[in-house]
Every structure is written in structure tokens, then in C-alpha cells.
């Protein structure tokens, strides 16, 4: 077992530091190579950082909001893998609790200073704790009364650092933990709650107003019909993992390029979906080229950059284009031509993808495909439960021009393509 670090990569030209925007893992989580472990935000963009190894997370660099230097350790992973070539492999020494000074002059107990429960004083014991409070396999040291109190309070002492002699967990350590408001699920921890009053006015202007108008237009004019279906994406994920393993310098494939490709393939048989309903003019324009809008969240709000001619792109080309467009959109640098002209749209909330959504159609398009969260679920295969990677898709259609039957058939077609991804690439 090695402990290897994933360093904060160079996330953009001239970027020397980035702010931690999100952790998608915590200490103790098992990750696979390529799993997203964190999102970091530079002044230009938010970038997801994938794991370089299969293994167990033993250490995180900080809390969301902390600023990290490029090249510094982001997470440490206990892994059987060898360090990735090009990455300095120095195995990290076990973050042993520092042995401390000789037993000679111990400073007076730091707990003595705060006799009364000072409200909201940042806990002195916990913050700078790098990783688990003690070496693995080492039992927490605490007196029977401390142990009993922890049991009563539902606290796992293995996760509690001890400030007493020899790392003993004291009543003061528990006081500190139980006093912490955010993680404390203690019913009695209502201290510090107060009523709030006042109202803040937020002007709906610029991009936000534009979004509001378009949403209102779509919702007023288009009677939506939404179909939700579950898709077994195990095969798709296998394919993706395999392609990523041999991708070389090419950008990493996410699920999105595969869904876009499947969509481009599906509309060959369903040209009615790749269309604009010009409701004011009273006709439908079916398009030959498949221009897929990618609903993208930016700091300013939702924008929909457009992948042009997906029917003519390879998977890695789509991936590269998605990366380029979303980067441009997030940086606010996407040009007008990059933000208009879509013929059908995909919307995905990524890891927040929910069980199902009711996507709003990007007027004047007639269909939108929502991607929901992927999860491994037990599925009955006829004789036993087997773990399968399942993902729901939620598609909305303009019911004025798409009948429920056609909507259902199209969703079934998408399901078939995603479940047997080879079909995406088979000529019609």
C-alpha cells in the first residue's frame, strides 16, 4: 500500500492558485481512477479534478473556500497503484501525530483558559487536524465516563482527536465537539439560534432577466410532456472507462459526449425531434445538422453553448469541444455564434442530477434531454440481484407537435442506444 498524493494541476494559463469550490469525496471514501474528487475555481473557471488512482482517501487539503497553490497536494490516497509517471512519486510519510516535545516542561493545559462556554469561539482542537486523529488500528484512549458520554451522544470516538496526555480524549474535547453547531446533531444544540428579519431586494437584470424571459416564454407557449426512463449504463460506463484508459493526450471522456453522440444517432430515425417549431409562423423546421445545446451553469447564470454538427464529430472531438465551450461560457468569453443555433438541448446537473427532473424546452426547439444522477443499484436479473450502474433520463417534448407515443418511442430509442452503446456507432 502506498500513500500517493493528487496534486492540484495547472488549471489554466497563468493560474498559480485556485479556490476549493467543492469536495465530492471525504476522508475514508473509496475512489476509482478518474472519479471526480474536487472542483476548484480559478478567476477564470471552475474545474473538476479527477483522481489519478484507485484507493482510499486519507487526507484532504482543506475546506471549501481555502485557496491552494498549483502543484500542492490536493488529496492523499492510500492505493496499491504506483505513482503516475511525471508526477513526483514521493510516498508521503504517514501523517503521524507529531511526537511532541519531551515529557519535560508541558505548557499549562490549554483548556484551562475557557471556563465558561464561550459561544461560537472557533474550536481550538479540531481545525488544523491533518487527516484522521490517530494511526489506523490505534484505539481511542478515553476514560470510561468519556466513552459513556460519547456513546450517549452518538459520537464515534475513533474520529475524535484527543488533547490529553498520551492523546487521551478528555471531557473538554467532547465539550468542544458538542458545542460545534454545524455538525452537532445534538437535539439540545439550539444555542445561538435567533429570529432574522428584513428583506433584501435583488434586481433582475441583464442575463438573469434574459433567462427569466426565455423560461417564461417556453413555459407559457409550450405544453410540456416529460418522460422519465431508467437506463442501465453499465456497458456505457465500461466503454468510457476503457476509452479513458487509452486516451493518451486526449481530453477525458465524461458521460456527456456519449449522450450527445447517442442523441445525434437517435434523431436520424426521429427527425421530428431535431426541429424548431416556429409557432408564430405556423410551421416546423426539421434540421439536417444536429446542433446540441449544452445547458451550462455559470456564475452569471444558465447559458447554453452549442455543439455544432455533433453527427460529424468523434467522441473525443465532442469531449474537447464540450470542454472548450464550457470553459469559454464559464469565463464569459463564449461568442454569440457559440451560444445560438441549437436544434436540441441536453441538460445535466452532474453529481446533483437528482432522480428525475422536468426540463424546460429551449424555445423554439421541440425536445430537451435531462441527464440524472448515476448510481449503482441492485437490479433483479431474473435469478438474483446484481449491482448495475443506473441512470435516469428525463426528456421533455413540445406536446403541440410531438405526441406522447412518439415521445415515448424516442425515449426508448435513447435507452436502447445508451444501454448498448455499440448501436450508437452502427450505421443505420
Amino acid at each position: 500500500m502506498n500513500i500517493l498524493s493528487v496534486k492540484l494541476p495547472d488549471v489554466g494559463e497563468g493560474v498559480t492558485e485556485a479556490e476549493l469550490a467543492e469536495w465530492t469525496v471525504k476522508v475514508g471514501d473509496i475512489v476509482k481512477e478518474d472519479d471526480v474528487i474536487a472542483a476548484v475555481m480559478t478567476d477564470k473557471a471552475t474545474v473538476e479534478i479527477p483522481s489519478l488512482y484507485d484507493g482510499r482517501i486519507t487526507w484532504l487539503a482543506g475546506e471549501v473556500g481555502d485557496v491552494l497553490a498549483v502543484g500542492s497536494d490536493l488529496v492523499r490516497i492510500e492505493t496499491e497503484a504506483e505513482a503516475v509517471a511525471g508526477d513526483t512519486p514521493e510516498p508521503i510519510a504517514e501523517p503521524a501525530p507529531d511526537p511532541g516535545p519531551d515529557p519535560a516542561p508541558e505548557p499549562p493545559s490549554e483548556t484551562a483558559e475557557a471556563p465558561a462556554p464561550a459561544p461560537r469561539k472557533p474550536a481550538p482542537a479540531t481545525p488544523a487536524q491533518p487527516g484522521p486523529p490517530r494511526a489506523e488500528g490505534q484505539a481511542p484512549l478515553a476514560s470510561p465516563s468519556v466513552r459513556a458520554r460519547a456513546r450517549q451522544g452518538g459520537l464515534d470516538l475513533r474520529q475524535v482527536p484527543g488533547t490529553g496526555p498520551a492523546g487521551r480524549i478528555t471531557h473538554d474535547d467532547l465539550d468542544t465537539l458538542f458545542a460545534q453547531p454545524p455538525r452537532g446533531r445534538q437535539p439540545g444544540a439550539a444555542a445561538g439560534r435567533a429570529k432574522r428579519s428584513g428583506t433584501e431586494e435583488i434586481k433582475v437584470i441583464g442575463m438573469r432577466r434574459k433567462i427569466a424571459e426565455r423560461m417564461a416564454l417556453a413555459n407559457q407557449r409550450i405544453p410540456h410532456i416529460t418522460v422519465v426512463e431508467e437506463v442501465d449504463v453499465t456497458a456505457l460506463e465500461d466503454l468510457r472507462t476503457r476509452m479513458n484508459a487509452t486516451r493518451g493526450d486526449r481530453p477525458k471522456l465524461t458521460v456527456l459526449p456519449l449522450v450527445a453522440a447517442a442523441l445525434a444517432r437517435a434523431v436520424v430515425d426521429h427527425p421530428e425531434m431535431n426541429a424548431h417549431y416556429m409557432d408564430d409562423e405556423g410551421h416546423v423546421l426539421r434540421h439536417a445538422g444536429v446542433h446540441v445545446g449544452m445547458a451550462t451553469m455559470t456564475e452569471a447564470g444558465l447559458v447554453v453553448p452549442v455543439l455544432r454538427h455533433v453527427e460529424a464529430l468523434g467522441l473525443f472531438e465532442i469531449a474537447a469541444e464540450i470542454a472548450r465551450l464550457s470553459e469559454a461560457a464559464r469565463a464569459g468569453k463564449a461568442g454569440r455564434d457559440e451560444l445560438t443555433g441549437s436544434t436540441i438541448t441536453i441538460t445535466s446537473l452532474g453529481p446533483l442530477g437528482a432522480l428525475a427532473t422536468t426540463p424546460i424546452i429551449n424555445h423554439p426547439e421541440v425536445a430537451i434531454l435531462g441527464i440524472n444522477k448515476m448510481a449503482t443499484r441492485p437490479m433483479w436479473d431474473g435469478s438474483q440481484f446484481v449491482p448495475r450502474k443506473m441512470m435516469n433520463i428525463s426528456a421533455s417534448f413540445d406536446h403541440r407537435v410531438i405526441d406522447g407515443w412518439d415521445a415515448a418511442v424516442f425515449v426508448q430509442r435513447m435507452k436502447t442506444l445508451l444501454e448498448t452503446p455499440a448501436l450508437i456507432f452502427v450505421e443505420a
Binding site: P99, P103, L141, A166
Partner: protein
């Protein structure tokens, strides 16, 4: 047959079962304890308590015997005599008082006691053969607390001159020559007591030393005392049976075959869990060797079935069973109880006594240091004419955390509480060293040992 029901049914009213019953009753659980014999189990009836009574009587007798001869204290008296029948009556009185106490404590807690032998029908039902006929009891939870019994040697089945500890504690007449097979703590405790009362005692042990679970350092003072009492040791020797006329024990060792004349042969080669003959095996519970496997809430592999005490394995000690009994009762009452003890103290009432708590020197662990302080440097020890033995503390080299404490010496059993408390509290050497220990007591030695571990002993 009528079927009674209860929430908790405990099979066995030994230290584990009766404590579980009392605690469950206190917590308001509708509880029944089934016991085929008197309450109190091995401990009160044929174990801890009667053996300590016998040891006390033997010590008093030995003391007076010593005064009958030349002694430094200048006391003179005539040689004592003992009426063993009366001693046993006194001992039985203590046992009766304690078992009666257990019954009334159970009653006070609201727990019912059913007298009779239980037979398990399934994980929720038991049939009890009572004097008034069979009774069927169904329960939501069951606790197996059936304890253990003396292990028999195939070559020396119990009966006739071959006795177990149970009979040895009830000898109406002192055997002239007693041979003890098995040099563990039970055999040595009883053997020493009978030797003090005047029996000619021989101990046969298969290992190369007595009390083989302890290190040689710890058993050395006991060896010396055995020799002083005239007890003969045959180490690395195997008892292979009685001679034809049953008047001697045949023993085989490297020196060859040998016959040791004996009026009684006490076999104390260990104890076996009571798991057979009452339907337990039909439950098909997961075993841990010959013992019932349990988790940290004493739950067995069957939902609703718990096990405590000797049936769950070593160390087979009453106080372990009691602690388990409390945990099960509190767990069933919905409290967050679980087994998280750091140490189980063990006391060996030989002469001198041995106490061990926590890690022993043999327990492999890196960076462990040892501090030893002898009773020869303790004032109180000299005033009671017993300066043999020592206190030993194993501690972490870096933090001074106390990992194990052992002592051998007269009266050290009463130090077991301090030792266990130190380890359970996570004490460091400094904690012990900075605690004032009363003068003049044996416990000062504990403080001095800690000081010695810190490199600043005062009285050596």
C-alpha cells in the same frame, strides 16, 4: 402445559446471569432467570468464594502453627488443630448467605427466578424441568449464561480418589497426601491451602513451569513459597493414570515413569464451557472454538440470542461475566451499551498473590518499557513480614501511557482496583506518580514504580 412469556430469559444464575437479571429488572424489563442449582453459579458455590474461605482458614492455621515454633514476633502458643468439618460449615454459611443475598437482590429488582433445568426448544422458547413438572417459557430475548465446568482428563476420570475443585473445597477430612494435576491457578490455590493445613502436596504440571500464562519473573516468588511450604513440583510431567490399586498416580516425564503415592488426586487442568445437553447446539450458533462467538454487545449469531460469561471464552472470570451481563441488560433496555473495556484484571490467589491487568511483557508491542519496584523497599511490606514480590508497570516509551500493570506479593489482590482504574482511565506514569499514595501502604509501591519509570524513583 402452560406457556409463560417474558421479555428477557436468562439461562444460568451465575455471576453473569444474576447480574444481568438484576440490571434488567432495575431497567424494567420483564425478566426470568432459570437456574438448575443454587443461584451464584460456580463463583459463589464452588469457586471464588469457597476457595477464598478455605485459603483464609489455611492461612490462619499456618500463622498459628508458625507461632507454635520459634518466631521473631515473640509470640508463643501450642500447636493448633483444625476441625475441618467446622471450617467447612463456616464456609458453607458464607456461601449460603451470599447465594441468599443474590436471590433477594433478584427479587428486589422484580426479576423472577425459575428453579429447574432449562432446555432450549428454539431461539425464543425454553422448557424448564421444575420440581412441579415442566414449564414452557417464551421470550423475546434469551441470554445464555451457562458457565463452565472442570475439565476431565480421559486418563483420570472424576470419581473415587480423583476429584475436581468442587470436591476439593468440600473435603470433610484432610488427605494425608494430595497430588494436584495441573499447575494453574486453581490447582495451586487449593494445593497451597491444603499444604498449609498439613497435607503433603505434590503438583504435576505438563508445561515446564507453573502458571504458564505468566512470565517466569512473576511466578518466581510463588515458586519460592511453594518450596518453603514443602510442596513438590514435577514439571514437564504428564499424569497418565492411577496405579491398579488406585493408591498412587503414575507420571511420565523425561526422567521416565514414576509413581506418586496419593490419597486424593485433584485434577485442575482447566475448565470447559457448558454448551451441550440442553438444546443449545440445535440453535446452530456460530462458535469461536468451543465457545459461543459473540460481538461487542454479547450478541450471538442468532438474532435475539445473547451469551455472557464462561461460555463465551477466556478469560473465564466472574467480573468479566458480570460486566457482560450489565451490557446485555442495558443494550436490551435501549441504552447505548457496548463492550469497550480496556482491560480485565485477573487475580491469582496463590501465596503470594499475583495480579495482572492489561498488557503482559509477552504481548508483542513495540516501544514498550518496563518499570519494576520491589516490595523489599516498602515499609508496610516489612511490617507484615512479607517483602517478597514487586510491582511492574509496562508503559509506552514515548507518551508514558500505562499499558499493563502486574504485581506479585502478599495482599496485592487489593491493588487490582487501582491497576484497572489506571488503565481504564488511560493514565500515564505521571498520573500515577503525581497521585499521593497513602503511607505506609503497599500501594506506595505502585507510585514508586511509576516514578521509577519516569527516572525519578525516591526510595530505591
Amino acid at each position: 402445559m402452560k406457556t409463560e412469556s417474558c421479555t428477557l430469559l436468562i439461562i444460568g444464575a451465575g455471576p453473569g446471569g444474576y447480574v444481568c437479571g438484576i440490571r434488567a429488572g432495575q431497567l424494567g424489563l420483564d425478566t426470568i432467570v432459570v437456574e438448575g442449582d443454587r443461584p451464584g453459579g460456580t463463583c459463589l458455590n464452588v469457586g471464588c468464594i469457597p476457595s477464598k474461605a478455605l485459603i483464609h482458614a489455611a492461612d490462619e492455621f499456618a500463622k498459628v502453627s508458625q507461632f507454635a515454633g520459634d518466631n521473631e514476633l515473640g509470640i508463643s502458643t501450642t500447636a493448633p488443630r483444625i476441625d475441618l468439618a467446622r471450617t467447612l460449615a463456616w464456609k458453607d454459611g458464607i456461601v449460603k448467605r451470599l447465594t441468599g443475598g443474590v436471590s433477594s437482590l433478584l427479587k428486589k429488582s422484580g426479576t423472577r427466578v425459575v428453579s429447574g433445568t432449562a432446555r432450549i426448544l428454539d431461539g425464543k422458547t425454553v422448557e424448564v424441568a421444575t420440581r412441579d413438572g415442566p414449564r414452557r417459557i417464551s421470550c423475546e430475548h434469551m441470554v445464555i449464561a451457562t458457565g463452565s465446568k472442570p475439565l476431565e482428563l480421559p486418563a483420570l476420570p472424576f470419581g473415587g480418589p480423583v476429584i475436581s475443585s468442587t470436591e476439593a473445597l468440600d473435603l470433610q477430612e484432610l488427605p494425608k497426601r494430595l497430588t494436584v494435576v495441573g499447575g494453574g491457578y486453581i490447582g495451586l490455590e487449593i494445593g497451597t491451602a491444603l499444604a498449609k493445613l498439613g497435607a503433603e502436596v505434590t503438583v504435576v504440571e505438563a508445561a515446564d513451569r507453573i502458571l504458564p500464562q505468566y512470565d517466569a519473573e512473576l511466578t518466581k516468588p510463588v515458586m519460592a513459597r511453594l518450596a518453603a511450604l514443602g510442596i513438590t513440583l514435577h514439571l514437564s510431567a504428564r499424569a497418565s493414570g492411577l496405579t491398579d490399586e488406585g493408591r498412587a498416580l503414575t507420571v511420565e516425564s523425561a526422567e521416565g515413569r514414576q509413581e506418586i503415592a496419593a490419597d486424593k488426586v485433584l485434577v485442575t487442568v482447566g475448565r470447559a464451557p457448558v454448551t451441550r445437553g440442553f438444546g443449545l447446539q440445535d440453535l446452530g450458533l456460530t462458535m469461536n472454538g468451543e465457545f459461543l462467538a459473540i460481538d461487542d454487545r454479547c450478541a450471538t449469531s442468532m438474532r435475539g440470542v445473547y451469551a455472557i460469561g464462561d461460555v463465551t471464552g477466556d478469560p473465564m472470570l466472574a467480573h468479566r461475566a458480570m460486566a457482560q451481563g450489565v451490557i446485555v441488560a442495558e443494550h436490551l433496555a435501549g441504552q447505548p451499551a457496548l463492550w469497550d473495556k480496556h482491560a480485565i484484571p485477573a487475580v491469582c490467589f496463590t501465596d503470594p498473590e499475583i495480579v495482572t491487568v492489561g498488557q503482559l511483557p509477552g504481548d508483542a508491542a513495540a516501544d514498550v518499557q518496563t518499570a519494576v519496584f520491589p516490595f523489599a523497599a516498602n515499609g508496610r511490606s516489612l511490617t507484615v513480614e512479607r517483602s517478597d514480590g514487586f510491582v511492574r508497570i509496562l508503559h509506552a516509551a514515548d507518551t508514558g501511557l500505562v499499558l499493563g500493570i502486574q504485581a506479585v506479593g502478599a495482599g496485592v489482590s487489593e491493588l487490582a482496583g487501582e491497576f484497572a482504574l489506571a488503565i481504564e482511565m488511560g493514565a500515564t506514569l505521571t498520573d500515577i506518580a503525581e497521585t499521593i499514595h497513602a503511607h505506609p501502604t503497599l500501594s506506595e509501591t505502585v507510585q514508586e514504580t511509576a516514578l521509577k519509570g519516569l527516572g525519578r524513583a525516591l526510595h530505591i
